[in-house]
């Protein structure tokens, strides 16, 4: 590209400044000052503006001192006449000239999005309104997740325990499989893996809303709002970003702490991240929420998420005052992008990536855990009562630890131990224990065609029910009739015999807070070493036990038991 200059062009700086420029150029000639590679006019302007770089260069030139003195006189003369620094006056003229050219040559509307962003931010990042708004958003999201997904959860439950289980039974009959193989497939794999896969619709909807919040730009505002509270625990808003990621899965959230400069801040953030309720805990909340709290399930689940944040704040304060005293706070620069309409493609990708990871885990970790669980529930070989199995005996031995918390039975103790592998396994273990022995049930015989029609009809009904529930969110619209409310899953029914609403709440609190899953501990060990991984496991389990005890015993004293 060739750059051409129009030698005839001369920006007019106004008569008074132009006169000083002309005087200085004349002086260059008079005192035989060679401007070298600089044009006389450009150098005169720069000298009048007292440009530091040019002054240094000119000082070294012949007669440079004299020229600088003359320029200084000229600049002072202009200032006395115009009442302002000459560099501001010349800049003013240049900006004005540029502005004129832009106006004449470019027509574009001002971006109103900035205005809208400012207006929204005035509310959502407000000193006092910001935090309630954040919690209100989370509340609405979790109500929507539960209410809208519940018809689909029922549908998935019916499909897995109906047509899919029937298909396995048919194949097992076809191959004349022995009784133990039937038990392994139906009681182990279908009950265990199927018990977790039931929650895929709920996760899809959760990730849909999280993607909406992220892509719209609200998540950065949430970090901004939380910055104030993070400072209470000696951290800043940057630490809240891994915590928000922790709502999805704690493992990437732990690795996301790498963006924090200070090691102390990274360690503290990693210790607090597992207290954010990850999506693996959602199946546990949903099962218990629907079984014990009905229409208030969404509120209970929201309360779990809020409790996780509150406990994280308190734990942070304790760490800050004890083993992780604050060092110099590093800078936190947060970009608040303008609000945008989320792109459907991006939202769908987000939903797919996260949910497929959950399904993949169901096909690997949860499948293996279900097989091991089935084996432990059936050893020593020929055991008739699950309580007498190896698993039952070990679980029975640790169950008394949970007795003060209201769930001191061996089934729950065992489910919590297996939940260490992955939190979803709490549900799959309970499914295996409570729904095992399903072979004894009378299974209605259906044809493949009937099953497929049933699946299709069920899906349409679930879609219609969810649509009605979604529309009922609009004030004044109530399309969700009583019939469309969620049906109980088989597991929910079984749990009602073993828990009360109070002990169920204490159990949910314990699941929320107790030892992070093995993958999360692995990530903490990888990033910070074994001692911090052990610290995380021990302190979280201790905190979980204490808080669950307070919930159960406190509730009991208040007559809620």
């Amino acid at each position: 590209m060739t750059i051409t200059t129009n030698s005839l062009f001369k920006l007019d700086y106004g008569s008074k400044i132009e006169r000083e420029i002309a005087k200085l150029i004349a002086a260059f000639e008079d005192i035989k000052f060679d401007t070298g590679r600089y044009s006389q006019r450009w150098l005169a302007i720069k000298l009048l503006e007292a440009d530091a770089d040019i002054l240094t260069r000119v000082q070294d030139m012949q007669n440079g001192e004299q020229v600088i003195a003359l320029a200084k006189q000229g600049a002072e003369h202009v200032q006395s006449m115009l009442g302002d620094d000459i560099d501001l006056l010349t800049a003013d003229r240049r900006y004005g000239y540029i502005n004129g050219i832009v106006r004449q040559s470019l027509h574009r509307p001002l971006v109103d999005r900035l205005t809208l962003t400012d207006r929204i931010d005035d509310i959502v990042t407000h000193k006092w309104l910001g935090l309630p708004f954040f919690f209100a958003v989370m509340y609405v999201v979790f109500r929507l997740v539960i209410d809208v997904s519940s018809p689909f959860l029922d549908w998935t439950d019916a499909v897995i325990n109906g047509p899919i289980a029937n298909l396995f039974r048919f194949l097992l009959d076809l191959t004349s499989a022995p009784a133990w193989t039937r038990s392994l497939i139906i009681d182990g794999v279908v009950a265990g893996v199927g018990g977790v896969l039931v929650f895929v619709p709920g996760l899809l909807i959760l990730y849909f809303f999280l993607a909406l919040l992220e892509d719209s730009g609200y998540m950065s505002r949430a970090a901004f709002v939380m910055d104030r509270f993070m400072r209470v625990v000696g951290l800043h808003g940057k630490s809240f970003i891994p915590m928000i990621l922790g709502f999805g899965c704690a493992v990437p959230a732990i690795y996301a702490t790498r963006t924090i400069a200070s090691r102390r801040d990274r360690v503290l953030t990693a210790l607090l991240v597992p207290l954010m309720s990850c999506s693996a805990r959602l199946p546990v909340y949903v099962v218990f929420g629907l079984a014990f709290f009905g229409a208030r399930a969404g509120t209970v689940i929201w309360a779990m998420y809020a409790l996780g944040i509150v406990v994280a704040m308190l734990a942070g304060m304790v760490f800050t005052k004890t083993i992780l005293k604050p060092d110099a706070t590093s800078a936190f620069v947060l970009e608040l992008p303008p609000y945008r309409q989320p792109a459907l493609k991006s939202v769908l990708i987000h939903m797919w990536e996260n949910t497929s990871e959950f399904v993949r885990k169901a096909g690997t970790t949860i499948l293996y855990a279900s097989l091991v669980m089935w084996l432990l529930l059936n050893l020593p070989w020929g055991v008739t009562e699950q309580r007498d199995s190896y698993f039952g005996k070990v679980s029975g031995a640790i169950a008394p630890v949970f007795a003060p918390l209201g769930f001191g039975n061996w089934e729950t103790g065992g489910a919590l131990v297996t939940g260490f592998m992955a939190k979803e396994i709490v549900v799959s273990t309970m499914s295996q224990i409570y729904l095992g022995g399903e072979e004894a049930q009378v299974v209605e015989s259906t044809t493949l065609g009937e099953d497929l029609i049933g699946i299709g009809q069920g899906f349409v009904e679930a879609t219609v029910s969810s649509g009605k529930i979604l529309l009922s969110i609009i004030p004044g619209v109530n399309l969700a009739d009583e019939e469309s409310t969620s049906e109980d899953t088989a597991l929910s029914l079984a749990l009602r015999d073993r828990f009360t609403p109070l002990s169920a709440t204490a159990f949910l609190v314990f699941v929320l807070l107790y030892v992070p899953c093995v993958a999360t501990l692995g990530a903490i060990k990888h990033e910070f070493g074994t001692s911090w991984a052990v610290t995380s496991a021990v302190y979280q389990t201790g905190v979980a036990w204490i808080v669950a005890l307070i919930v159960y015993q406190g509730g009991f004293l208040l007559g809620l038991g």
């Binding site: 000239y97 502005n99 001002l110 990042t125 808003g237 620069v333």
Partner: protein
Amino acid sequence: MGWDDVMLTQLVKLLEDKENGLSLSEISREMKAQPSAILSMIDLLVKKGRILEIGPDNKCCATCGIQSECNLLAARRKRYVVVV
């Protein structure tokens, strides 16, 4: 508006009338120019000591209250007032 508009003077005059100052986006709207163009003018005027950067409520930032160390202020709602 012609090519010889005096933008800096216009900007200072605009701020003189606003007791609580204006944010970049507000200045940009008032002057009908893109924020990126306004920002370099603001930088020059701040450097020359003609205008001052302040927090959103004239005193402090909405979060920590420590204006001198406030990094968030750089990201949002910085306002500008004329130095009297």
